[in-house]
Amino acid sequence: MVLALVELCLILLGLGMIAGKEVSMGDTLFEKVWQQHVVKANDDGSVLLYIDRQLVHEVTSPQAFEGLRLASRKPWRVGASIATPDHNVPTTGLEHGITDPVARKQVEALGTNCEEFGIEEFSMGDIRQGIVHVVGPEQGKVLPGMTVVCGDSHTSTHGALGAIAMGIGTSEVEHVLATQTLIQKKPKVMRINVEGDLSQGITGKDVALFIIGKIGTAGGTGYAIEFAGSAIRALSMEGRMTLCNMTIEAGARCGMVAVDDVTINYVKGRPSSPKGDMWNKAEAAWRELHSDADAIFDAEVHLNAADITPQVTWGTSPEMVVPITGSTPAIADAKDEVQREGWSRALAYMGLKENTAMQDIHIDKVFIGSCTNARIEDFRAAAAIAKGHKIAGNVKLAMVVPGSGLVKAQAESEGLDVIFKDAGFEWREPGCSMCLAMNADRLEAGERCASTSNRNFEGRQGAGGRTHLVSPAMAAAAAIKGHFVDIRDWN
């Protein structure tokens, strides 16, 4: 009887709480930004969503511009878009231009399309040119609270600034160019809380890989993810960009971090950031861009920062990831037939046996770059490791590729290029480079690479190439030792 009373009280308490939340339920960060951009709600639950900023690059835009031309349409608001070539640009010998005729045609098409339609472009040779996801925030073209799209799945990067940023296909690129809107259905919202302090040497990249290892590459499908908790707040803006960049590898199109001082300080003074009185107004509005304390999420994940160690992928999907102290899995441990198949195929492709310690894996090449890790902080971290060392004899090529011309200039002004070159790294021109190997930078079949990029799919860095995803410091340490090492032991 007593028990029953207690239970009843608990039930009532529970109901009361739920009812209370329903009445005064706060908004999530995602909902706040979303609601500000709804142009019109459609009957079927989708909305016409206004897009503040579109980033354009050469690979996913030519067919969109062609579509506009065929339908005699003009961009709705040319000032909303900026363009830069990145995927196809060479990272050496720029004075010769692009030698691959097919790639050259595509980069030239971007130039002529931008000229024809009046879109601002940072073309090759402009110091502001670079990987579109590095360039946007660097120029202040992406601001907190914006809706940002690009024909590229790693548009999720920009959510680090408290924006709704997502990758779209070419038909949608055309739709945004023509109408400044997208027809969208609101995704569910998941909050991933990482509480506590990250250990020394643990970066946004390790947090991203750790999360993907936990929730899987489809764990975020159908969701927008907000990253929260003290460990996330302690990340720099660049670390947050790395984390949001890889949201798509967890299946979510969009990852976000609430606006705080870190965000405001990053945005302030950028070429296209608001100035003077406009800045004050904007800052006041941006300060509201956080989830309310009583906001309810469709799903929540709680992780402990202290559990996050340096991460290395062993297979052909970002979820095939282990701590540096770990090993490749034993096939017998797979949870079902699909995973067993996946693991066997991945081990075979990667040329690895079961139960191989990650630190025993030797590498042929190193790539430090990509929209995940080609910002100044990434290079500072890698250079701190490389300083005073030489790359190992078994490493055929170690390359550092800046995310933009401005990152390159900054690194050079700090002498990082000299540190890298002295250690035997190649110091290249900005672009996507060996992240996806559309230009001449690629792995040969069977070559193994420590890479700071975001995808380790079969053939991603070159047909038959084997990719292990790591942080910049881990990549630099692997270059020096010739195999993977635990960055926490580095001195």
């Binding site: 019109k40 067919q63 709705w76 027809i183």
Partner: protein, 211 residues
């Protein structure tokens, strides 16, 4: 855009989970500035023994005989049966373009990656989500019976097997409407031009730094 209404077609089984867009169409083919011509390069690395290059003639390339698309019994397939998280990875619309150009206009899987799913509808491809159990039945029957054809009816939202077993699927009304009628949604959106203009006018006052 080509409309999709009903399709009675041969099924090809792609029995792998997490098939990514790099596998569907490798990056070297993304250099093209066209929407068509990607069919011969669909699953290029899995399909051929050599490395494909854009615009090359594929008729005499050495093929990997064990790869499912190369098996005689699946030639002419119009429906692809797949496993979970199909189309994960990049946003490249070249993936659905390649699938369509190859001749497949319906992909059936237990789940799809979001961007790929979206891109399908923009190109006249119907992505159908069925349960794991239903997918397992279709895989088993496809492999067991050469020439296995099923009927996909978008209007009725059903997939029907030769034995008459029928599975229903969900699809959003707006997407269904556009696909059934082959409608270009830019034209539809532009009918709301006034609403977009007045939204912009409001935002220019409330958030002028965006303009």
């Amino acid at each position: 855009m080509q409309a999709f209404t009903t399709l009675n077609g041969l099924v090809v089984p792609m029995d792998r989970a997490n098939v990514d867009t790099d596998a569907i169409i490798p990056k070297q083919f993304l250099k093209s500035i066209k929407r068509t011509g990607y069919g011969p390069f669909l699953f290029d690395e899995w399909r051929y023994e050599d490395v494909g290059e854009p615009e090359m003639d594929c008729t005499n390339r050495p093929i990997r005989k064990d790869f499912v698309l190369n098996q005689t019994r699946y030639q002419g397939a119009e429906i692809m049966l797949a496993r979970e998280n199909f189309g994960c990875g990049s946003s490249r619309e070249h993936a659905p373009w390649a699938i369509l150009d190859y001749g497949v206009s319906c992909v059936i899987a237990p789940s799809f990656a979001d961007i790929f799913y979206n891109n399908c509808f923009k190109n006249g491809i119907l992505p159908v989500v069925l349960t794991d159990a239903e997918i397992d039945i279709l895989f088993a029957e496809t492999v067991a019976h050469e020439g296995y054809k099923i009927t996909v009816d978008l209007k009725a939202q059903t997939v029907t097997t030769p034995s008459g077993q029928s599975f229903s699927f969900e699809v959003e009304d707006f997407r269904k409407h556009c696909l059934l009628n082959g409608l270009d949604d830019i034209g539809l959106t532009l009918q709301n031009g006034d609403v977009i203009h007045s939204y912009e006018a409001g935002r220019k006052t409330s958030a002028p730094w965006l303009f």
